[in-house]
């Protein structure tokens, strides 16, 4: 099966937004063992769309088309496909009724422009979109099935999972069983990981890939066919042992998800005091439903005054050692834990940049502490200063890794190959 993708939309073509839908889709397909072999991105010009639908349908078996199903005048996918097929657009009554029900349920008036969303090429097979007003559909042209999906990411995702994948499974009887294991690392560059792992002898059908998604690099072990699937556990074990401390989670999207899974329903409680990470740790945990069961509070004590008044950091400690120091961050963690008598507290304080660095504490210097009922463990690290966001996200990941190690009864402060330790 030859799978291609066509991304539509001036904003994607013109770089107003980075095309995360394309990356998500290709990655999702790859995890199923299907490669996207070609991708075209076009703007909102009718003739360009018509041409690309006609052209690519000669080469591909299936084309996922993304975007252009909305109610506005620059949403042209349906019209262009009808033109490419030399067919009229016909109102799909089922979808118009679906939209009427959608708006009436929400007590919103349906606008004139929404009506357009029910018009599909004559030969189109409707594809349900339970979470939006953009109607999906598929049509056959030349060699290809063209499968039209909305540009809104969560609508696309739901339609791909619930409609597109079952469709291609059935239409192209995908035979080979596949399996995937994902290992999440922090603190090791890709070339270092490659050096560690590339001498592992992979059996036929088993491939290893890397995906950089800061603050993580993910290692993916993909097995196609029963033979490779049978070997997956032993290869995974080899990778695990070579990764050592770099490995922080398996089959999770982030270390925050790993911590959430460990704390949710555990009866344990956590407070967080953040300076340079500025709410990032709390926000990452709170994105998971159920986080209220363990997260007492997250205090973004950005100013020194706030560290003193809210967390009870002694003013003398700030005067003597500065905000970015082992001493201050330890007091922050201690204060945050004691406020609500939480089981654990994490604290961060650092120089996220681009300004504010000094010779002694350059941009990227970050102090991180974990307080438990037994005391405080803390460290100060020197992170790559490439960007403010990178410093913040690496700091968050290291803080969460300290808590993860504590929960596992492991040593809390360890060396990460790519970060140096400040004095």
């Amino acid at each position: 099966m030859k799978l291609e993708m066509i991304c539509t939309g001036e904003e994607v073509l013109s770089g107003q937004i980075v095309d995360t839908n394309a990356a998500w889709f290709a990655n999702t397909m790859m995890e199923m063992g299907v490669e996207v072999q070609h991708r075209v991105t076009v703007g909102d010009r009718l003739e360009d769309l018509v041409h690309v639908f006609q052209e690519r349908s000669k080469y591909a078996d299936v084309i996922l088309v993304n975007g252009g199903l909305g109610p506005t005048s620059d949403d042209l996918s349906s019209e262009a496909m009808a033109k490419a097929l030399s067919e009229p657009l016909i109102e799909n009554v089922e979808w118009r009724e679906h939209m009427e029900a959608w708006f009436s349920k929400r007590s919103h008036p349906m606008t004139q422009s929404n009506l357009k969303q029910a018009f599909l090429p004559q030969s189109a097979v409707m594809v349900d979109n339970p979470v939006g007003t953009a109607c999906g559909f598929r049509v056959k042209l030349n060699r290809a099935w063209l499968f039209f999906t909305p540009g809104v990411p969560f609508e696309l995702k739901q339609m791909v999972q619930e409609q597109f994948i079952p469709f291609i499974r059935q239409e192209f009887s995908l035979k080979d069983k596949t399996a995937l294991t994902k290992l999440l690392t922090i603190g090791h560059g890709e070339s270092l990981l490659a050096d560690k792992l590339e001498t592992i002898d992979l059996p036929d059908g088993l491939t290893m890939g890397y995906r950089s998604s800061m603050p993580h690099i993910e290692i993916k072990l993909f097995a196609r066919g029963q033979h490779a699937i049978d070997k997956l556990p032993s290869i995974t074990e080899q990778v695990r042992s070579r990764l050592g401390q770099a490995l922080v989670a398996e089959n999770r999207a982030s270390i925050a998800e790993e911590i959430h899974a460990r704390l949710n329903g555990s009866g344990l409680s956590l407070s967080i005091a953040e300076s340079c990470t500025g709410g990032m740790i709390a926000s990452q945990l709170i994105s998971f439903p159920g986080s209220s069961s363990y997260l007492h509070q997250g205090l973004v004590t950005y100013s020194n005054e706030s560290k003193v008044k809210v967390l009870g950091v002694p003013a003398q400690v700030l005067d003597d050692h500065g905000a970015v120091s082992i001493e201050t961050v330890a007091q922050m963690a201690k204060g945050a834990r004691e406020l609500l008598d939480s089981d654990y507290a994490l604290a961060t304080s650092g120089v996220a940049g681009p300004e504010g660095g000094t010779e002694q504490k350059p941009v990227g210097t970050v102090a991180i502490a974990l307080a438990t009922r037994d005391g405080v463990k803390s460290q100060i690290v020197q992170l790559p200063r490439r960007s403010r966001d990178l410093v913040r996200s690496l700091s968050s990941a290291i803080a969460l890794d300290m808590l993860r190690r504590e929960l596992l009864g492991e040593e809390v402060v360890v060396d990460y190959a790519s970060f140096s330790r400040s004095a």
Copy 2:
């Protein structure tokens, strides 16, 4: 001039990395008034590359090709282009000497595989790359100049700025001036905005586009040519007046950026107490360098205990009205403001979902308050319950909009067309 882009590389095609080069290049060109009209992404298969070079060179005047100039076996751009031209690859002696000097300056041995990087198609014109070992080049095929650039982002950027832009300026005497105005909205669906704006009569050369980037919808007015540029202010004014309260910022990426710009250096100070938004407001502001000048603290008081102990919300208020109530959120804002005597404080408390809703307070019910030195203004809204993240990001945007209105001396609590108000 018809400009296209060809992105090569398995890791981009397969979603292992998001293609930020493509977005950067298109955006850089658009700000020069040149649109990228078509983009193809292909993997590292020789025949696919040959085919796409031959095919697209029939339609475009200039094609920027990105990637595939490295030393490894999957770097095939040069070889594929030679094949597409039916030409041999010839060693470019100047570039080999350049590489030898490059490696000797760094005391690294030049590997055998680097030698390959000096081989270009016979008719190629070399394009200098002062910051790497990948040699740029350009060739003419059919209608198009194909311009080959390295995949490493900073090498691409330097080559585009120093070589590509001067080349197209000279080759295609670029005439039309362009201008762009971006208007950021909240609380109005795209179809509602379209209904409001589509009857505006746009002069030739002026186009209007929408970009949905939750919690915002952005309206873009793009003018090409002096005639359209002259009309841009009056059209922008018409759009402004039709948008009314929906408009929250101009030429900004987010309302957080607008608030940052208004508070940074103003001498005013802000504290934030977040429950359902869970650090999102603070984290958004902290992503801007300089936010420490006005942001006192952000308190994620997720548990009731934390609301009482840290913010001083009376336990009786929580008992009588619940955490998600006008009364509680007003006390949260008041407490957060008073802790460090900030000029302003924002507070949120709501049901982000997917669990935790009740008949009286379903998922999406959010109470939001702004405290000033003169008192507290608060409201409770019913947001679309599509996802936990959406509820949180809309709540953050409304909170920041309340502060924006206060800073402008406008009414703080207003109706948003797409959100209903709870009793």
